[in-house]
Structure formats: structure tokens, C-alpha cells
């Protein structure tokens, strides 16, 4: 099992290392800079951090020596002519049946590099980056240069090819509240899953649009939201407008996909062709942000339940982790080692990870917890970290 944990935090990248059965944090990297995602490329050990500068724009930082030194990577940029149709937060008098007005266009700017994913071994330089406002960028040279995936950007579900001219269809993608920090209301790609069997086959998830799949290396994309239920929309079964908070797959059984959604926990046993709601609200398993899937057994997943969207914090002041081993038919809730009073933590979408029997999660309250027994008991790695945005084993 890996002996490194990378935390992306409000104040930099924290790397914890395991030595003599003890986890110790190194001095913080990127001190003072928000890091929304940090991960290790398992192919060559390169460490990555997505810097969320308040003033200077999003940047990627890369270390090829295990974190001893970091170098800035060329900024991701939208190509000339990349536009999108502006969305605004719905107002209380929003009428979903009102006629659609003329689209308002905006030139695309990268606001946030929300997620990174690494290609399979047969594509050694391939890295994916998901952004707000909903761009999937691809690098084939280890991050030295990046290209926008235009078939996804030009998808008919978001207005068609706006490089060519006017919109040819309605924009069905909603915005994510996570973008409001940047003064906009745009969608964001936060989940990218590369099929270990086939590098041409990917799933991505978008807040607030849903899940899309490509089987031809990104040349064409298809929405995969059948079975999703969007409780707060006029039509809960609409094709678009869903709000997956995070989607994860099982490496050994890639057709087993899971999502912690705004509206519940959903499971697919057929590669997202069909989703099934598997929430268990009586056990608290319904709302939350992260989800983790076992690497070998696709019916096994973990969530960190939270009070629903109106509150977004631990349930009844106590943190817990829930695990299913039967595809969501039943859940066991574990609290041993986690605070059960006066805990108001929320764990964000990239804030939980699993590696073998180990799990780790971190909260925006700066608490980080580790389990060595598949989530049944927990130990504290620290209470005073900066707000945690991402947790990934290295």
C-alpha cells in the first residue's frame, strides 16, 4: 500500500509520509496558495498540484523529484474562439417553462483546474485536466502542453459548435456553485475516469450537467444519465442538469461506477448505461460530496454522509463513514475513532481516497483521519491542517 498522502489545502500542498507505522507531515509546499487538487502520477511518480491563485489565475505545479522541488507548468488556455453560453443562478421567480431567450456568449477563461487524471500505461504522457468553465484539457507530453477537447466543448447539449458561429442548440449545462467564487455561474468538470481496459474509453462528470462517456478517445461524447433523479428540477429524469458531486470507478471492474450526487448515492453496474439510486436516508447515506470505490471489488464503496444541501455539515454533530459491499443494497456506518460531538466538518468531493485497506479523508475544518481496516476504525492524522480540498494516496 502507498506510504504517501497528498493533501490539497487552502494554504498549500501537504505531503504526509508513513515511517515506522507513523504518518508525519512534511513542511507545507506552495505555502499560502490554495491548492484545490494534488495527486501523484502512478506511472512515473510525478507529483502534481493545482494552484488556485486568487489573483494570478489557476496554475499547475509539478515535481519530478518526489516533492523536493516544484516547477510551474505552462498555463492551460482556451483557444481563440472558445465561447460558451452564459448561465445565471436561477432567481426565485425563475420560470422553467418560459421561452428561451437569445443566448448570451462569453469568451472562455480558465477559472479553476479542478481535477487531474492520468492515462493508462499505454499512453505514458497522457494527462487530463477538468476545469471550470467545463473544459476537458488533454496533454500528451506529461503536461508541457495542453489542448482543449473540442468535441466535448462543442457538444450539442451546450449549444453546439460556437467556434463556427451561433448556437445550434440550447445550453443544457447548468452552473456549479463552486464557480461563484470567481464571479460566474459556470459548469465544472471534477471527475475523469479512464477505463483501465481501453484508453479510448472515458467517463467524465460535470456539475451541473451529469455524466458523459466517450468510446473513441474523445471524438464523440454521449450523456449517460439514465436512472438519475434530480429531485429539485421540474423533471427529475431530465437528460441534463444533474449534479454529480463526484464519480469514481473500480479499476478491476470498470463497469462498476459510483456517484455521490446532490440528490443521493447512485450506482451503475453497466458502465453508466443505467444508474440506480442506492441511498439509505435512514442511515444517513444520501447527501455528501466524496465517494471512493474499492480497487478490486466494484460493489464496495465508501461515502462520508452529511446533512443535506441546506446545511452541508456532519449529521447531528458526529462524523461517520458508510460502506457498502453489495452495490448499495445495504450500508454499514462506522464511527469508531471519529468525533461524535460538536463536529461540523464537511468533506469535499476530492477529500476521500482509498488504497487497499487504507482510507483517508480530510475536512474543511482541517481534520484528517485515516483508517487501516477498510473504514471500520479511524485514527487522527491532524486537527490543525488548513481547510482540506483534496486527499489522494501517492
Amino acid at each position: 500500500m502507498p506510504n504517501m498522502i497528498l493533501l490539497g489545502t487552502r494554504k498549500g500542498t501537504v505531503i504526509l509520509e508513513r515511517s515506522n507505522s507513523t504518518w508525519k507531515p512534511r513542511p507545507i509546499e506552495h505555502a499560502g496558495i490554495p491548492v484545490c487538487y494534488a495527486a501523484r502520477d502512478p506511472r512515473d511518480g510525478t507529483l502534481w498540484a493545482s494552484l488556485d491563485h486568487g489573483h494570478w489565475g489557476p496554475k499547475l505545479s509539478r515535481s519530478r523529484d518526489g516533492g523536493a522541488t516544484w516547477d510551474a507548468v505552462l498555463s492551460l488556455k482556451y483557444p481563440e474562439g472558445a465561447r460558451y453560453i452564459v448561465k445565471y443562478l436561477p432567481t426565485p421567480d425563475f420560470d422553467p417553462d418560459a421561452p428561451v431567450g437569445q443566448p448570451e456568449y462569453r469568451d472562455a477563461i480558465v477559472y479553476k483546474i479542478w481535477n487531474l487524471a492520468f492515462g493508462n500505461a499505454d499512453q505514458p504522457g497522457r494527462i487530463y485536466a477538468g476545469t471550470i468553465p467545463g473544459g476537458l484539457f488533454v496533454s500528451d507530453d506529461g503536461g508541457d502542453s495542453w489542448t482543449l477537447n473540442t468535441p466535448l466543448w462543442n457538444h450539442e447539449s451546450r449549444g453546439g459548435d460556437l467556434f463556427a458561429g451561433e448556437a445550434s442548440s440550447e445550453n443544457r449545462w447548468g452552473g456549479t456553485p463552486a464557480s461563484i467564487d470567481y464571479g460566474v455561474f459556470e459548469p465544472g468538470i471534477h471527475s475523469i475516469i479512464v477505463d483501465p481496459r481501453n484508453s479510448q474509453h472515458l467517463h467524465i462528470a460535470v456539475s451541473s450537467a451529469g455524466v458523459l462517456e466517450t468510446s473513441d478517445g474523445g471524438l464523440t461524447w454521449t450523456g449517460r444519465n439514465r436512472g438519475m433523479l434530480n429531485d429539485y428540477m421540474p423533471n427529475p429524469e431530465s437528460d441534463w442538469g444533474h449534479d454529480p458531486h463526484f464519480v469514481a470507478g473500480c479499476p478491476a471492474q470498470p463497469d462498476c461506477l459510483w456517484q455521490q450526487n446532490h440528490c443521493g448515492v447512485f450506482y451503475s453496474a453497466d458502465g453508466a448505461q443505467n444508474w440506480k439510486k442506492v441511498s439509505l436516508p435512514d442511515a444517513g447515506v444520501h447527501f455528501g460530496f466524496p465517494i471512493a470505490v474499492d480497487a478490486k471489488e466494484g460493489r464496495t464503496a465508501w461515502v462520508v454522509p452529511a446533512v443535506s444541501d441546506a446545511a452541508r455539515m456532519a449529521i447531528d454533530g458526529g462524523l461517520c463513514v458508510a460502506r457498502t459491499t453489495d452495490g448499495g443494497q445495504s450500508w454499514r456506518v462506522f464511527r469508531n475513532g471519529l468525533p461524535q460531538a460538536a463536529a461540523y466538518d464537511i468533506v469535499l468531493r476530492h477529500g476521500l481516497d482509498v488504497a487497499g485497506d487504507r482510507l483517508c479523508f480530510g475536512s474543511t475544518t482541517g481534520n484528517v483521519y485515516l483508517s487501516e481496516d477498510r473504514g471500520e476504525t479511524w485514527q487522527t492524522l491532524g486537527h490543525n491542517f488548513p481547510p482540506v480540498y483534496s486527499v489522494r494516496f501517492g
Binding site: 491563485h53 505552462l74 498555463s75
Partner: protein, 92 residues
């Protein structure tokens, strides 16, 4: 030649610009920023977005006047002018 003064925060990313006087040929603000980028490659990515506009939370002034054209940076910088580049504080 105009002088360019930077917030010290930028020295963290461009240490070659620290402890020196930055002088570049007169021209538009766009020319000035580009000239700094030639001294410190990558500089424009920090202060401009992909369309060449000033980033939302970056301010730029010529002497004590905040530039008017944040989009194409067409304001002219006189020979004896000083360009200041600093954060647009938005609270806290």
C-alpha cells in the same frame, strides 16, 4: 524609458525581477507587460488572461491612474511614467 513596479507577491514567482529596476521601452500597457514577459517568461500568464485582458483581481496603474482599458491594454505609457502592477484587493 518607463519604470515598472510590481507587488512583491510576484517576486515569488519571478525572482529574477526582484532587487532591480525594471525599465522597458515606452508604448501601450500591452507593450509594457509584454516587455516584462521577455525579461521574465511566463509573466503575462500571471497578470493577463488567455485573451490578453487584465485578470479580474489584478490592478495596473500608470503613475497614480488606474488604467481604463483593462481589455486590450491600449493606454499609453509616457517615457517618464511608472507602471504599477498589484493585486485588486476585494476584501479581507
Amino acid at each position: 524609458m518607463p519604470t515598472v513596479e510590481l507587488t512583491r507577491h510576484l517576486y515569488r514567482f519571478f525572482p529574477s525581477l526582484e532587487n532591480r529596476t525594471i525599465r522597458v521601452p515606452a508604448g501601450s500597457v500591452a507593450d509594457i507587460v509584454q516587455a516584462v514577459n521577455e525579461i521574465a517568461p511566463g509573466f503575462t500568464d500571471y497578470v493577463l488572461d488567455e485573451h490578453g485582458a487584465l485578470r479580474r483581481h489584478v490592478n495596473l496603474s500608470i503613475n497614480d491612474s488606474i488604467v481604463i482599458d483593462r481589455k486590450t491594454l491600449s493606454d499609453r505609457v509616457p517615457e517618464d511614467g511608472t507602471v504599477y502592477i498589484f493585486q485588486a484587493l476585494s476584501g479581507g
